[in-house]
C-alpha cells in the first residue's frame, strides 16, 4: 500500500522539483482554458465580453492565490524554502570570511581527525573480509582455560580437529593451518619469510583460487613438498616468471615444487608461501592450531555452536583433563586478525570523538558569538513578520552549510590523517592495512556526521539568537540576555575543558607508564651490546654436535673482532617473543609449587659476564662444564628463594627430565640475579640456565643469539659481525643484527606509539579548548566594553578588571577540571590493560594534568584580560 503510494507520488515530487517552470506553465494554461470557457458561457448569457471576463475572474476568487494554493499542493515548498535559505546563507557567509573560515577550519579539523580514525576502524574492524561470502567463515575453538603454556586463542588441538571434522554436519568444509618461518635459498639472497602450512581444504574453505597453476590436491590424494607462492614473492624473487609452475624452489634446504601463484589480492596473516600439511594422529604430541570452516548455506553460527558444544560434551577426556575447564567458541573468521587490536582502535576512536566534540563546542560558540552580533538584523526581520521557526531554520541552514563545508575539507584532512596515524600506530601490529581506504561507508559517515553536527550544534545558538526578548526590542540588549548568553558559552567551554581533561589524563597515564617501563632495570647490560640472531635450518644442521661446532666457530671468530670485549651465546635472548618455559624435578622428591614454571635458557660459559648478570653465589659455567663432565645448572635468585628459602641451594640436584636416570641429575653450582626475560613490563622471571656445551637436544640449540660486548659504538661492528656469520656458513640467511638498546627500545614501541597517539589527540584537544576559552573571553570582553567602562569610571582599577576576567576563566576551567576528573576516573579504566605500574586513577597524573590545563587556560585568557584592563572609560562609554 505504502509502496504503491510512492510509486505514484515520487515521480510527481521529482517533477515538481526539477520541472518547476514547466509545471507553472501548465498551471497557467489549465486555468486560462477554464477562464476562457467561463467567459464564453457568460457571453452566452448576454454579457459583454468585458463583463464576462470580470465575472469569470471573480468566480476564481483571486487568480494568484489559487495558483499559490495549487503550488502548495505539490508539497515541495519546503525544498524551495531550503534552497532560498541556502542561497541567503551563502551570501551572508561570504560577507564574513573571517568567521566562515574559522568555523570551517575548526570543523574540518574535528571531522577530518574523526574521519581518519573511522577510516582505519572501518578498514580493520568493520569491512567484511575480502573473501567470497565472508559471513559464512568462522573459527572453531575448543580450548582449555587453565593451561599455563597457551594463551587461550581461538584454536583447537589437532586430535580434536580430526574427530570434530569427522562428526561435523554444519560446515561445508573445515581446514586448519599453522604458521612457520622458512628460509628460501637459490632465488637471490637467502631470505626468511612467513609461510603457512595448511590442510588441503584451506583454499576451498576460503574459496580462493590460484591465479596461476592449481591448488592443493584433495585430501587423500598424496603429494609432498608442494608450494603455492604469493603474488609478491613470485614477482620479487622469480621475476613474475609465467613458467614458474612445476619448477623447484629450495625451502630450508629441501626442494619444493611450485604448483601455483595466488592472486595479488589474497593476503592471509602476511604469509608469502603456502605448503601442504596433513594432520595425522600422533599418540604423543598434539599441536594446537586455529581451525577455520565455511558454514553450509542457511546454517547459523548458533547451530554450529550447538554442534560444537555437543562435541565437547562427549569427547573422551585425557588424563587430568576436566570437562568444565574447556570453552567452546564459534567466532567470525575476522576475529583471527582483529581480536588483538580491537580494544586499542576503539580507545583511539573514543579519544578522537572527544576531540571532535571539543571542535563542535567551539563551533557552537562561534555561532553563539555571531548570533549576538547579528541581533539587530534578527530583530528587524522579526519585526517585519518573520516567524521564529523561519528564523531558526535560516540560522540552521547557515550552520549546516558551514558543517558540510567543514566536512568536505575534513575529508581532505583525513587523507593525510590516515597516513600519519598508520605511521604512528605500532608498526606491523595493525592487520588488514591494505583494506584501509576511503570508501562509500567512510564518506557516508563523514557526510552524516557533518549534517548532524550542523543541526545539533547549530540548534542551541539558533534558539538563543531568536529568543523573544531579542526579537522584540531592537535596542534592548539587556543585561539579563547577556548573562544568559554568557552562561551558554561558559557551559560549552566547561564541557571542552572537561573532555580535554579526560584525554589529557589518559595520555598522562600512558606517558607515566612509558617512563616507568623505560626506567625498569632489566637485570642485564644494555649499552655497547650487539645481538645477532641465527636460525639453523634442520636440513643442514641435524645434530646437537653440528650445532655446537658452528656456535664454537662463530664465538671464537667473534671474540677476535677488534673492539669485541667479550662474546657469548644464548638460545632465547631476553625481550624477544619466543621463549621456553617449563618445570623440572627435584632430587629430594619434593614437588614444584603448583603453577611454578621457569625459563630455560641455554647459554655459553661467558653469558653472565657478557650480559652483566650478577653472580650472587657459587660459580659461573666454565669451558670444562662439557659433556664429559658432571651436569651442572645455574639457577636464578627467584628459583633459589622459592625452593630453598634457607639459602642452601648450591649443591642440590635437579633434573629437566620427567623420569630422570642417574645421569640426568644436574648439580646447582651458582645463583645469579633474576632478569626480565620476556618483556620489560613482565615481572622478573625465575630461570634455570644450562651450558650449551652440556645440552644434547637440537631443539635447544637450533635458535641461537650471539651477544657481543664492544668497547666502542656497537653499531660500528654490525658489518663485521655479519661477515663472521657469513664466513661460518654461506648458506645461512642474513638475519637480524641489532643493538641491545634497539631491542629494549623495540620492546617499548607499543607503549610508545599508544602514548604518542593519545598524546597527539590530547594536544589537539587542549589547543582546541584553549582556542575556545580565548574566543569566548574575547567576545565577552568586547560585548561588555560598556560595562567595563562604567566599572572603571566608578573607580575599578586595571587589576580589578584583570581579576574579573581571570576569575571567570578559573570558574569555567575549575568546573571543567572537576567534571573532567570525575569523567576520567570513570573512563581511564579502559586503559588498564595498557598501563605499567600505574593505576588508572593515579592521583599524581591527574594533578599534573590539572596543572597543565589551568596553565593553558590562563595563557588563553591573557590577551582578552589585558584587553579588558586597557579599556579606556571615556571611549567605552561613547561605545554605544
Amino acid at each position: 500500500m505504502r509502496l504503491e503510494h510512492w510509486f505514484y507520488t515520487i515521480p510527481l515530487r521529482l517533477r515538481s522539483i526539477f520541472r518547476r517552470s514547466e509545471l507553472d506553465r501548465e498551471l497557467d494554461e489549465e486555468l486560462q482554458f477554464h477562464l476562457e470557457q467561463r467567459i464564453q458561457q457568460e457571453i452566452a448569457t448576454g454579457k459583454t465580453r468585458h463583463e464576462a471576463r470580470y465575472a469569470a475572474l471573480r468566480a476564481m476568487e483571486g487568480m494568484q492565490q489559487r495558483k499559490e494554493e495549487c503550488r502548495d499542493a505539490r508539497r515541495t515548498r519546503w525544498l524551495e524554502d531550503l534552497m532560498q535559505d541556502a542561497r541567503y546563507a551563502i551570501r551572508t557567509l561570504i560577507k564574513t570570511p573571517a568567521f566562515t573560515l574559522s568555523a570551517v577550519l575548526v570543523l574540518a579539523l574535528g571531522i577530518g581527525a574523526n574521519t581518519a580514525v573511522f577510516t582505519i576502524v572501518n578498514g580493520v574492524l568493520l569491512r567484511p573480509l575480502a573473501l567470497p561470502e565472508p559471513d559464512r567463515l568462522f573459527l572453531v575453538s575448543h580450548m582449555p582455560t587453565n593451561n599455563p603454556f597457551i594463551t587461550p586463542g581461538p584454536e583447537m588441538s589437532d586430535r580434536d580437529y580430526i574427530e570434530f571434522r569427522r562428526q561435523d554436519q554444519v560446515f561445508e568444509s573445515l581446514a586448519t593451518f599453522g604458521g612457520e618461518n622458512v628460509t628460501l635459498t637459490g632465488a637471490g639472497d637467502a631470505v626468511t619469510m612467513n609461510a603457512l602450512r595448511v590442510t588441503p581444504d584451506f583454499l576451498q574453505v576460503l574459496r580462493v583460487h590460484p591465479a596461476l597453476g592449481r591448488g592443493f590436491l584433495e585430501e587423500g590424494q598424496h603429494e609432498t613438498n608442494v608450494a603455492l607462492l604469493s603474488d609478491r614473492l613470485w614477482r620479487s624473487r622469480f621475476g613474475g616468471d609465467p613458467q614458474i609452475v612445476g619448477k623447484g624452489i629450495t625451502l630450508d634446504g629441501a626442494i619444493y615444487t611450485v604448483i601455483g601463484v595466488m592472486p595479488p589480492t589474497f593476503t592471509f596473516q602476511n604469509a608469502e608461501l603456502w605448503t601442504r600439511m596433513e594432520v595425522r594422529l600422533d599418540p604423543h604430541n598434539s599441536f594446537i592450531r586455529p581451525v577455520i570452516g565455511r558454514l553450509k548455506p542457511g546454517v547459523t553460527p548458533q547451530q554450529a555452536q550447538a554442534e560444537l558444544r555437543a562435541f565437547a560434551a562427549t569427547r573422551p577426556l585425557d588424563k587430568g583433563e576436566k570437562r568444565e575447564n574447556f570453552v567452546t567458541r564459534i567466532l567470525p573468521l575476522k576475529e583471527l586478525f582483529v581480536a588483538n587490536v580491537r580494544k586499542l582502535l576503539l580507545i583511539f576512536a573514543g579519544a578522537i570523538t572527544f576531540v571532535f566534540l571539543i571542535a563542535c563546542a567551539n563551533f557552537a560558540n562561534l555561532l553563539l558569538i555571531r548570533g549576538a552580533s547579528r541581533q539587530p538584523e534578527i530583530a528587524i526581520r522579526a519585526a517585519l513578520g518573520a516567524r521564529r521557526s523561519r528564523l531558526v531554520r535560516q540560522l540552521l541552514a547557515e550552520s549546516t552549510l558551514l558543517s558540510v563545508a567543514g566536512g568536505l575539507v575534513g575529508v581532505l584532512v583525513s587523507v593525510g590523517g590516515v597516513r600519519s596515524l598508520l605511521a604512528w600506530l605500532p608498526s606491523g601490529k595493525i592487520p588488514r592495512i591494505g583494506e584501509i581506504q576511503l570508501d562509500g561507508w567512510v564518506l557516508t559517515f563523514t557526510f552524516g556526521l557533518s549534517l548532524i553536527t550542523g543541526i545539533v550544534f547549530g540548534l542551541s545558538p539558533a534558539l538563543q539568537a531568536t529568543r523573544r526578548e531579542l526579537r522584540e526590542g531592537v535596542n534592548a540588549g539587556g543585561r539579563s540576555v547577556t548573562m544568559r548568553r554568557e552562561r551558554l558559552r561558559g557551559a560549552f567551554v566547561t564541557a571542552e575543558v572537561a573532555m580535554a581533561m579526560i584525554l589529557l589524563a589518559g595520555a598522562g597515564l600512558l606517558v607515566k607508564s612509558f617512563l616507568q617501563m623505560r626506567s625498569v632495570n632489566p637485570g642485564f647490560r644494555q649499552t655497547n651490546m650487539m645481538v645477532a640472531t641465527l636460525d639453523l635450518p634442520g636440513s643442514r644442521y641435524r645434530t646437537a654436535a653440528q650445532m655446537r661446532a658452528l656456535n664454537e666457530r662463530i664465538l671464537s671468530a667473534m671474540s677476535l673482532l677488534p673492539g669485541a670485549e667479550s662474546v657469548a651465546a644464548v638460545n632465547w635472548i631476553p625481550l624477544r617473543p619466543e621463549f621456553v618455559r617449563g618445570d623440572f624435578q627435584l632430587e629430594d622428591g619434593r614437588h614444584l609449587p603448583h603453577g611454578f614454571l621457569v625459563d630455560k635458557p641455554v647459554v655459553s660459559p661467558g653469558y653472565f659476564r657478557t650480559m652483566g648478570i650478577r653472580l650472587l653465589s657459587g660459580r659461573r659455567f666454565t669451558e670444562r662444564d662439557n659433556l664429559s663432565a658432571p651436569g651442572v645448572v645455574i639457577i636464578s635468585e627467584g628459583v633459589a628463594r622459592r625452593l630453598w628459602p634457607g639459602g642452601d641451594a648450591i649443591g642440590k640436584r635437579i633434573s629437566m627430565e620427567d623420569e630422570p636416570k642417574a645421569s640426568d641429575w644436574l648439580t646447582i653450582v651458582g645463583i645469579v640475579s633474576d632478569i626480565r626475560q620476556r618483556s620489560l613490563a613482565d615481572t622478573p622471571s625465575p630461570s634455570v640456565y644450562q651450558s650449551y656445551l652440556q645440552v644434547n637436544q637440537p631443539f635447544f640449540l637450533s635458535h641461537i643469539n650471539f651477544v657481543v660486548q664492544s668497547n666502542e659504538n656497537p653499531a660500528m661492528m654490525s658489518a663485521e659481525i655479519r661477515s663472521v656469520l657469513h664466513k661460518a656458513d654461506q648458506e645461512l640467511p642474513a638475519q637480524s643484527v641489532t643493538t641491545m638498546e634497539a631491542m629494549v627500545a623495540n620492546s617499548l614501541t607499543d607503549t610508545q606509539s599508544q602514548m604518542r597517539l593519545l598524546g597527539i589527540f590530547s594536544i589537539m584537544a587542549v589547543l582546541l579548548a584553549a582556542v575556545g576559552i580565548y574566543g569566548v573571553l574575547t567576545s565577552s570582553v568586547l560585548e561588555r566594553t560598556h560595562e567595563i567602562g562604567i566599572r572603571m569610571a566608578m573607580g575599578a582599577e586595571a587589576k580589578d578588571v584583570l581579576w574579573m576576567v581571570f576569575r571567570r576563566t578559573l570558574i569555567l576551567v575549575g568546573t571543567g577540571v572537576v567534571l573532567g576528573t570525575l569523567g576520567a576516573a570513570a573512563v581511564t579504566r579502559v586503559l588498564a590493560k595498557f598501563l605499567f605500574e600505574v593505576k588508572p586513577n593515579d592521583p599524581f597524573t591527574f594533578l599534573a594534568v590539572t596543572g597543565i590545563l589551568v596553565t593553558v587556560a590562563i595563557l588563553a585568557a591573557w590577551i582578552p584580560a589585558q584587553r579588558a584592563a586597557r579599556v579606556y572609560p571615556l571611549v567605552a562609554l561613547r561605545h554605544e
Binding site: 504503491e4 503510494h5 510509486f7 505514484y8 507520488t9 510527481l12 515530487r13 515538481s16 501548465e26 494554461e29 489549465e30 486555468l31 482554458f33 477554464h34 470557457q37 467561463r38 469569470a56 468566480a59 476564481m60 476568487e61 483571486g62 492565490q65 489559487r66 494554493e69 495549487c70 502548495d72 499542493a73 505539490r74 508539497r75
Partner: protein, 111 residues
C-alpha cells in the same frame, strides 16, 4: 476561503473522485458536471476546484494528461488511478456510514 461553507469538509474529494470514476475529464467539464449532477445544490466555486484537483493529483489518486479537448484545444484531462479507486471506495463507505448516522439522528421523533 477556498471551500464553500455549505460543502461538508472532505466531501469535495469524494465528489471529484466519483465524477472522475465515470470518465476522464478536464477541469472545466468537471465543474460543469458538478453543478449539473447536484442540481446546483452543491456549488463548487471555480477558485476551489483547481487546488483540490492538484491535491488529489499529488496524492496519486488521480493522474493528469494533456489531450485535445472536444473543442479542439489542448486541455488537462484527469483520470482515476488504481490508488484513487481504492480511496473512492473508502471515502464513499465512510460517507454512507456518516450520512446514515446523521439521517437517523435527524429523524428522531421529539418525545
Amino acid at each position: 476561503m477556498s471551500k464553500p461553507a455549505d460543502l461538508v469538509q472532505g466531501t469535495l474529494n469524494l465528489l471529484l473522485l466519483k465524477i472522475l470514476a465515470l470518465e476522464p475529464m478536464h477541469g472545466w467539464a468537471i465543474s460543469q458536471r458538478l453543478n449539473q449532477v447536484s442540481r446546483d445544490v452543491l456549488r463548487v466555486s471555480d477558485g476551489s476546484l483547481y487546488p483540490a484537483l492538484h491535491k488529489l493529483e499529488q496524492e496519486g489518486w488521480i493522474a493528469a494528461e494533456w489531450k485535445t479537448s472536444e473543442l479542439g484545444r489542448r486541455a488537462k484531462f484527469y483520470s482515476l488511478t488504481r490508488l484513487g479507486r481504492r480511496q473512492l471506495q473508502q471515502e464513499s463507505a465512510a460517507w454512507e456510514r456518516l450520512s446514515g448516522a446523521i439521517t437517523s439522528v435527524v429523524r428522531l421523533k421529539e418525545a
